[in-house]
Symmetry: C2
Subunit: 652 residues, 2 copies
């Protein structure tokens, strides 16, 4: 919208443009759109922030569900966090191995949308696309909410403790901040990510190692849990520690897997050999994720951490581990946790607009989403993401645990579709290989497609089972929203697509043979005779010298009589029609007149030439009837009618 | 705006129009604009509501100032309400007699604006006009605030007592209600006014008579004042009962005179003989006003009423007077008081828009204010009045006593100007009479202009003295706002006038000799080749067959190459210009191209023909770039440029 800095009259537009420039910066040339290739170390920092940051809240999400059995009297319930975490870690290994295969198969980037669309067809592709869009939005909401909780947790016991009550505003502030940063275009991505990501990894690892060492040297340091502030997952009531509850806790903990697919989307960003580097980075990320997640869960178990309303589990662990002279390190942990979570939200700001633009290019979303903005960013997508995630944070009170039930549906649905797509991919490759075998035997040996198929098959089944567990255990807690939303989104994609295809057909030049001549009828609505009207009449006569009619709405018989007399001098042979207006309206009588002309000459193009004088200063517009504007708005959309403004510019 | 019910595309406009119809009703034909002539009884009800209603709060305004001496220890201070009220009544008699003369001199309606303008000149006329506009706004704010206070006073001691804390909302509700009623057009005025006005007069008279009788039969019924809730006029601190304080109390009480000029504005509404009937009605009104005001002040004195925060003085008097079996009559008094106050506000809804339209016709206010709306009402004036008075109520917390210091400046300024105007009027008439005398002696005898001049002279001096007292004693309490505002308004009137005169000169056809021929250059910005573009090209060629250029903004070299190829078939010899756009903007390069053409051919009219396809359903607009709209907004105000939309209508 660089053209907004208009001439005279565009004053309001200009002010807005200046404000935009201030916030977002000057436009960037298209030529500067080039790829920055990443080393493994930088790539890990960028792509892993989303996945690793989930260790900040995954353990807590398990404990929150187990708390329902604890309040019902089960003394052992919290200890179940360890086996559940092990199960999640196994699932994580399966998913990671599956995605390594995707990386090799799709070196140009294999997001769930592309993989599902290519292998399973358009509809599954759209389902995957819808899931991912929802997933990106929730990543922002959950990460920001968790980041803010890390900050407010650190305030417990200080005089800023009441910050907890204002967390929605803090969340919205951070979302606004990231949004503006992304509208500017985050070109300095690598540098920005590396330091905080590694700081988080380092401080979290230090927490785990130091915690375990201290515990085994002196098990007596464990604090006595105080259950005054105990928190139970929203929607869970006191109940025995049964299978359903354990599955619910497992499903909640699967939030740890979110973000693991990030690398497979961005293979192209790696230095050569892209696939190999990406796969190695993925393995590293998976290992880090398992160590950190298991470490948090084990420490939570050893230190008897109970989930609390005003303090996160991570914060409680860090507080228990770093006591005495090491207390300052507690703040390092909280600060790096908050930072990595905010960075994790930032990753969605790359993913969401990019996916939306892919969908828009395939005509499943409004084409405005595929426009590169001034700063080489898909600005509209960035703004949409900010609006939706901000809304979610507000609607769920900025509470991570209330957002989690919505989160994993989209994630696991896209996992399942992506893995299922890979199964079909290998199956097709296998068939091609078999055909090839007739010609060249070594081809078959080179592609162990059966093994690949089995690996992705296991991945697909495992993630599908988890998806089902998730939907069943979390349906009433919020998963229903996403279960309902995804088909609606797909429905919307299809409807939008149908419209675009239809428009393209209607606008197609097929069947036309060339430009045809036009028969004109020109109407000039006049309010009297002045220089503005004269200019309009001159213009009208130049279009169709013998088909011009001036129309005057009679609001006052005396004024009409005067006009008729003046017309003798100025009409220059132009036909003058006076129409009555019993209700003092200008538009209705004119509108009716135009309709009559249209009916009597259906094959003619009617041009309405509107005289309009343009004041020199904007405030002067307030002193004039905006009749021309109203007429324009009314007539603009009439079929067979062309509206032309002839401005007459006043000097001062 | 009846023409708003547009065809396709006007969906939003249509919804707004339906809402408007529901609130305001269907339009009324101009032919129904006729005068309803009033009997004296009905006229008294209509014109007196404003003046009489002020008795509901005038006594209280005096007591509020006297309270400043009471809290300083002066035991007698509240008794001063009686002499002050007598002084105000004398002033009232002077003003009433003065206005009787105006009524005879201006049988067609002699508002302060007209009288001052005709006799003193434009500038004093504008000052009077500004004062009156301010006065009308304050009448609404003060009356509504006092009406709401009458309601909340009646709630003291009931479980609705806290209504007092929500009075701003109540005020805004009543203003909104009256506004809608007036936008519908209050044709049934007479009937609507008569009942509540006479009910108020009757109940207030009953209060005074019954109160005086009870007091003289049994002086012991007087309640002991409880000063817990005592209220002192805003801005007054405890101080001795000196002259300045007494003058302040007097100035406050002059609020009783507001509205007395109403009849002189509306002489034409009376049955014949208009002037005589109007003058008689004015006398009656003045007598009623004095009786009611003096009655309230004397009762307030006799019953030892002290002004209170949560209850009005009138309510306290009525409560003290009507005890035991007569208690129900208290509610009659409060209800009729609230009703008359709301009706009083309603009178400004006739006055303000009418005066604004007079000023607008003389080109001192935006001409939109002189438009009769759908319902034969000056709708814009009604809305302006509602906005300003609502703002005042909100800004001053709906507190009558805080609004009073702003009120009387405008009133007394317009009184003074009007009376001074009458003095000049008689002087001129006297001079004419003297000239006539030479021819016919009886003429002089018929016009006792010297006596009239003296009467109006006394009126002018008296009101001017009160104006000065008011400004001096109330300046710091809020009068400064109006003292500042009136010159600013006059300044604005003059500036608006200058603009209109200037525009009329610039638009004057003087110096023109007839329609001149036009040299065209037509530019068609295109985004590709489709039926919409073809239609635009056909139109462009029909205007100036050999001066059409299609302009394409190059955003993508490949697409541009394709377009060039297609142009061979569809261009029909039209020149194609491709412009570069390094920042991916459409507007800026086009804008620059248009500028280049303008510079190279300064005497040519450039027509920009914008192809635009119009979707069949409104939501489909969301799926298309609104580029045409943006281009239009940018190019519309360029000098020498005419913008034409050629719509192509999609079917479904």
């Amino acid at each position: 919208m660089a053209f907004f800095s208009a001439h005279r009259g565009g004053w309001r537009i200009q002010t807005m443009a200046s404000l935009k420039r201030l916030l977002v910066g000057s436009p960037i040339r298209t030529a500067r759109l080039a790829h920055e290739r990443l080393t493994k170390k930088t790539a890990l920092a960028i792509f892993a922030s989303d996945a690793l940051s989930s260790t900040a809240y995954a353990t807590e999400q398990i404990l929150l569900v187990l708390a329902a059995a604890y309040v019902a009297g089960s003394a052992v319930s919290f200890s179940r966090v360890v086996p559940i975490s092990i199960a999640i870690s196994l699932l994580l290994i399966i998913v990671a191995i599956s995605y390594r295969q995707t990386i090799y198969a799709y070196p140009s980037g294999g997001g769930a949308f592309i993989v599902a669309k290519e292998n399973l067809g358009t509809l599954p592709g759209l389902v995957a696309g819808a899931s991912l869009l929802v997933d990106y939005i929730l990543t922002v909401s959950v990460s920001i909410a968790a980041g803010v909780e890390a900050i407010t947790s650190a305030m417990v016991g200080t005089r800023f403790a009441e910050l907890h009550n204002h967390r929605i505003w803090l969340c919205l502030f951070f979302i606004a901040f990231i949004t503006v940063a992304n509208l500017r275009g985050v070109r300095e991505a690598g540098a920005m990510f590396a330091a905080p990501s590694y700081a988080f990894i380092f401080s979290f690892m230090a927490l785990i190692v130091y915690g375990l060492v201290r515990y085994y040297l002196n098990p007596g340091i464990v604090p006595v849990p105080n259950d005054v502030d105990l928190k139970v997952a929203e929607g869970y009531h006191a109940q025995p520690l049964n299978l359903f509850l354990l599955l619910g806790a497992f499903a909640n903990g699967c939030a740890a897997l979110t973000g693991i697919e990030a690398i497979s989307n961005g293979v192209q960003a790696f230095k050569q050999p892209e696939s190999k580097n990406a796969a190695t980075t993925l393995s590293w990320m998976a290992i880090l994720l398992i160590v950190m997640f298991m470490g948090a869960s084990i420490l939570g178990y050893l230190f008897h951490i109970h989930p609390m309303e005003h303090e996160t589990v991570t914060s409680q662990i860090a507080r228990a581990v770093f006591t005495g002279p090491m207390h300052w390190f507690y703040y390092i942990v909280q600060a790096t946790t908050a930072l990595i979570l905010i960075l994790a939200a930032n990753t969605s700001y790359a993913g969401f607009p990019r996916l939306a633009s892919l969908l828009a290019r395939d005509r499943f979303l409004p084409r405005q989403l595929s426009n590169l903005g001034d700063r080489l960013v898909f600005s509209n997508g960035v703004i949409l993401l900010a609006v939706f995630s901000g809304f979610l944070v507000w609607a769920f009170g900025g509470d991570t645990s209330r957002l989690i039930p919505l989160y994993a549906v989209g994630v696991f649905l896209s996992f399942t579709l992506s893995q299922a797509g890979m199964v079909v991919h290998w199956w097709r490759e296998g068939k091609t290989a078999q055909t090839d075998t007739a010609e060249s035997a070594p081809a078959r040996a080179r592609s162990p497609w059966r093994r690949y198929l089995v690996v992705n098959g296991i991945g697909a089944v495992a993630t599908f089972v988890v998806l089902m567990i998730f939907i069943v255990t979390k349906f009433v807690h919020g998963a229903w929203i996403v279960v309902l939303l995804i088909p609606l989104l797909v429905q919307m994609f299809l409807r939008i697509h149908r419209h675009y295809v239809d428009v393209a057909q209607q606008l197609s030049t097929e069947g036309l043979v060339g430009l045809r001549p036009i028969h004109h009828e020109v109407i000039v609505p006049i309010s009297g005779i002045h220089r503005g009207v004269i200019a309009a009449l001159e213009y009208a006569k130049s279009i169709a010298p013998h088909h011009v009619t001036a129309v005057y709405v009679n609001l006052d018989d005396l004024a009409t009589q005067k006009l008729r007399e003046k017309w003798q001098q100025w009409g220059s042979g132009v036909n003058l029609v006076v129409v009555a207006s019993p209700y003092r309206s200008l538009g209705r009588p004119l509108f009716n007149y135009v309709d009559r002309v249209r009916r009597s000459s259906p094959n003619v193009i009617i041009t309405i030439v509107l005289p309009e004088f343009v004041p020199a200063k904007w405030w002067q517009n307030l002193l004039h009837n905006q009749n021309t504007l109203f007429l324009k708005a009314t007539l603009l959309f009439k079929k067979g009618v062309v509206v032309t403004n002839v401005p007459y510019h006043l000097e001062h």
